[in-house]
Symmetry: C2
Subunit: 245 residues, 2 copies
DNA sequence: GAGTGGTCTAGACCACTCA
DNA sequence: GAGTGGTCTAGACCACTCA
């Protein structure tokens, strides 16, 4: 019993089902925050057993693309809610929890992709890119200065006003306004001496050591859609990582 | 059908099986690098279905405590092989792969646990702790200075000679000599200015920014067994992290 | 009480490994 | 060819949610 839709060969059935579900997410068939059909329904629709659907959904849930709720259903993950707002933020206070998180826009400009950035974003060098710079405050204290770059083509009409009206929270705005959902990211961290721009914005002594994080963020299908450089003042905050392996 | 061994209540069967398997790993019933019994055998032994064993083993495999090999069996993960030697190292060169990794011992001393360290290691303040300091070189270049602290009681007789005879590779030595297997860790990262000790050992300019990583490493059952502070020269290397959520 | 996901079983067949 | 883990099915019952 195979689903009656063309799928790549040499894949276990449940991977094919996973791909089909991912396609439904990509093309907006099921939207962030909404529920997808029940396992039983999906099994009937794809003409496979519930166990096979379950295995596909489990993998997507583990990748935080879907969220399961026993008794309620399975939902498309979202950056829109308070709780999932900062799911990608790895900076935490040395003591105590994050009680508030706010962002202040520095500027938003249209620039041209340089060679390195274009390669990472998989777009032509020189194509239009939006550069968004902001300062993040944790519990009222300015901690992070960051610069994000995204292909302008994916975010038509994005400007300072769009940013202000969303409190300058990027991933929830990407998702709700432009239907671009961030599902994974890779980060490279370095300790560097802050340059004058950064020390003046953050109110730090000249050449303070700051934690530089370079991120590539991906949407469904591991397509890169954002580059980000963050500079974190580590005097009362740190980057948290858990290792299993 | 329940296993005929006392287990905590209110746990799904497969979690109870998982605990029983973990106990077998802890008490050395199955040793790192060895294979555990097949799913069929475990299912017979615990008197549950193969599917339930499979679910328990899957979770342990995902936590990198066990390693599955189709057609060969399921093996206890180990730090002893070349490939798994540096499974916890997150520092990589900015360009190119890690071709060689070597460690040079600075010193190994017996000290007393300070209050903060004792709390993290869950031992009494003032109890004996071994402090191991070493320099890690990646592709022949000194990149990381680090200091590890472990409860002396867990590592009887550990000294410079033990370290030298294992090339100063800690986790494989913990495992093969002292039967302490590291299975998980938490890390906090900060950018700091290097002090004189570090700049002289690493050959860096005064007060260079370095990446400080503070690690707590855990053995089975999430029992903390090592604290570590690493200082990384980030001029040609970075810390790599993947984010999913 | 109907519907959801979570657990558990039993059994089939497949892909891979190794003697 | 025997033994291993990997996939898939079908069906049962449970825990949780919500009207």
């Amino acid at each position: 019993m195979k689903p009656d839709v063309p799928v790549p060969a040499f894949q276990p059935l449940y991977r094919q089902i996973k791909l089909l579900i991912t396609e439904g997410l990509e093309n907006g068939r099921w939207k962030p925050g909404e529920s997808i059909p029940s396992e039983q329904e999906l099994a009937r629709h794809f003409n496979v057993s519930q166990g096979t659907v379950r295995k596909a959904v489990n993998e997507l849930a583990q990748e935080n693309v879907l969220v399961r709720h026993q008794g309620r259903g399975t939902f498309v993950a979202t950056h829109a809610t308070e709780r999932t707002q900062a799911a990608f933020l790895r900076i935490v206070p040395d003591v105590g929890p994050i009680e508030s998180l706010s962002a202040e826009l520095v500027d938003c400009r249209r620039i041209k992709a340089d060679a390195a950035g274009a390669r990472l974003l998989d777009i032509p060098t020189g194509s239009p890119v939006l550069r968004i710079r902001r300062v993040l405050a944790i519990n009222g204290r300015k901690v992070i200065f960051e610069e994000a770059r995204v292909p302008a083509g994916l975010f038509p009409g994005l400007d300072s006003e769009t940013l202000h009206s969303h409190g300058c929270m990027l991933y929830s705005m990407y998702e709700s306004v432009f239907h671009v959902r961030i599902v994974a990211a890779e980060e490279k961290l370095k300790a560097v001496a802050a340059d004058a721009d950064i020390t003046s914005i953050m109110g730090l002594p000249t050449a303070s050591p700051v934690l530089l994080t370079e991120r590539v963020a991906y949407t469904y299908g591991r397509r890169p859609v954002e580059l980000r450089r963050s500079y974190c003042d580590c005097s009362e905050h740190h980057y948290y990582a858990a290792i299993t392996s």
